[in-house]
């Protein structure tokens, strides 16, 4: 049965996040040939709408309002609620991002619907879509479906492939006016920590450092390797707590969950909370001087050795072969 599916698009620094394109791809599959429409909220975001069409949305609704300039739960909730009431979608897809995690349960409670969070895969089973999601910090997986009513899911970034961008696609882009009443939470200030460059949760290659990096300067060889590979730099909690780097680089249960093609862990022991954030990476390389470190149990390739010796050599070797 064809379904009408709503996708909430998310932008950051004036461009759309990849997870929004992935959400469109998921929505297409859920829709079973029905309509996929994207919702874009913000202060002035209209210019982003066409990209959503190019990635497969049939239609885009743009809700512009000065009260949507910053994400607030109440502001987005009110905007989405109005649109859902008007459009009556049969399925909703959000990214499992900070925003998606904050907003989706609240809307689901209001809509009295089920919600499947942190989906990493989906398949059709008869009339139903069955969703796969990790549980127990990625030590197990479950397949779930929504019994009846609205199908509401959030998808983990970097797991569901977006559709090929097609600039010849066209679709309706329409402004909708939304009424935002009082906001009970007000954003006073946003202190941007996340370094510019590749967004960790969307990076294809990540070079990550742990307490073994030993100092802020110790991250330099990792950064040099990352530069050669076009990779992002990440870190363990251990490195963040020791002040070697900012918390915005943290990967794991508390930090970012990443699924790159290649994850190079340097001086990271491999605590379960760290593995929860990276064990689904396609290929994992571990560099650690302790042969017993748990990180080797999830690694595809391991080098037992001093990272300060290995990493610079690796950078040189890649420089040679990547010219």
């Amino acid at each position: 049965m064809a379904k009408k599916v709503l996708v909430l698009a998310e932008s950051r620094d004036g461009s759309l996040r990849n997870v929004s394109f992935e959400a469109i791809a998921a929505a297409k599959e859920i829709s079973g040939g029905g309509e996929v429409f994207a919702v874009l909220c913000g202060e002035s975001v209209q210019s982003l709408a066409n990209d959503l069409i190019h990635y497969g949305a049939d239609r885009v609704l743009v809700a512009e309002n000065e009260k949507l300039a910053n994400y607030t739960t109440d502001g987005y909730y009110q905007a989405l609620k109005q649109i859902i009431d008007d459009e009556k979608p049969e399925a909703i897809v959000f990214g499992h991002t900070s925003l998606g995690k904050d907003l989706s349960p609240r809307l689901a409670a209001r809509l009295e619907s089920g919600l499947i969070s942190d989906v990493t895969g989906l398949e059709q089973a008869g009339e139903n879509t069955v969703f796969t999601r990790p549980v127990y910090s990625g030590k197990a997986f479950e397949k779930k479906l929504i019994n009846d009513g609205l199908v509401f899911v959030t998808i983990r970034p970097n797991n569901i492939a977006p559709l090929e961008k097609d600039e010849s696609r066209s679709g309706e882009v329409k402004s909708v006016s939304v009424e935002i009443k009082d906001l009970r939470t007000i954003v006073k200030e946003v202190v941007r920590k996340a370094t510019t460059g590749v967004d960790l949760s969307e990076a294809k290659i990540i070079v990550a450092g742990g307490r073994g990096v030993k100092s802020e300067d110790g991250f330099k060889p990792l950064q040099e390797l990352a530069d050669v590979l076009g990779a992002a730099v990440g870190a363990s909690r251990g490195a963040c707590d020791a002040d070697y780097c900012d918390y915005s680089l943290q990967i794991g249960q508390t930090g970012k969950v990443v699924t790159p093609d290649l994850y190079i862990a340097c001086g990271i022991s491999g605590a379960i909370q760290h593995l929860a954030g990276m064990s689904n990476s396609k290929v994992i390389v571990a560099i650690n001087k302790d042969p017993e470190a748990s990180i080797f149990s999830v690694a595809d390739y391991g080098i037992v050795g001093d990272l300060f010796e290995v990493v610079p050599l690796l950078t040189e070797e890649f420089k040679k072969v990547l010219v």
Partner: protein, 256 residues
Amino acid sequence: MNIYVILKRTFDTEEKISVSNNKISEDSAEFIINPYDEYAIEEAITLKDAHGGTVTVVTVGDEDSEKELRTALAMGADQAVLISNEDLDSQDPFTTSSVLAAYFKDKEFDIILGGNVAIDNGTGQVGPRLAELLDIPHVTTITKIEINGTTVNIERDVEGDLEKIETSLPLLVTAQQGLNEPRYPSLPGIMKAKKKPLETLELDDLDIDEDDVEAKTKTVEIYLPPKKEAGKILSGDTADQVKELVSLLRNEAKVI
């Protein structure tokens, strides 16, 4: 202040997981307070120390959850409530939040603290769902909170960025790592906890009809990820290992 903590008993983080009969096997597993809920308990006690009042910890769980509630009491919570889920056939975050909402319906509360995510099922839904059902604002993944009168100033973690929020009571917040360092229960604390009130409620006590809180989602399968083949630990002198690794990444793994 009436301070509440919603707490979940979970598998110990370090536990090995096995599946039998399409369920995660609980045989001989160690259980703990969900680590993010420990931050919530610690913060609740800190708020009480600053503003006075009582800290009540509430869980929806089976009778074994008494152990985790006692631990919270030993840390310094004043009283505990165990809402028995043993009459529920199916349960998901919709169920849990609906049961909690029925409990809170006739309570006076200023603030409810929870964890931002449970490390087992890991949906992060229960807090925001409950806030909606109680029609109060919520703030997720907080790393700092200050209360002055009814004004509340909060810092929250947003994928590594820091957001400063102003809001007011009554309020529900969910704890992120970094909020505080949870204390260990002291020996006198453990002794005192044995005498602190722990109330057990059945669904009937909350006028809950099981059918009304029936899960909205269904788990069709639980499985372990395919065992990863043991990785290749390289050997030889370091320069050769590095050459081999680069070649493996290019030619075997084909990721570069």
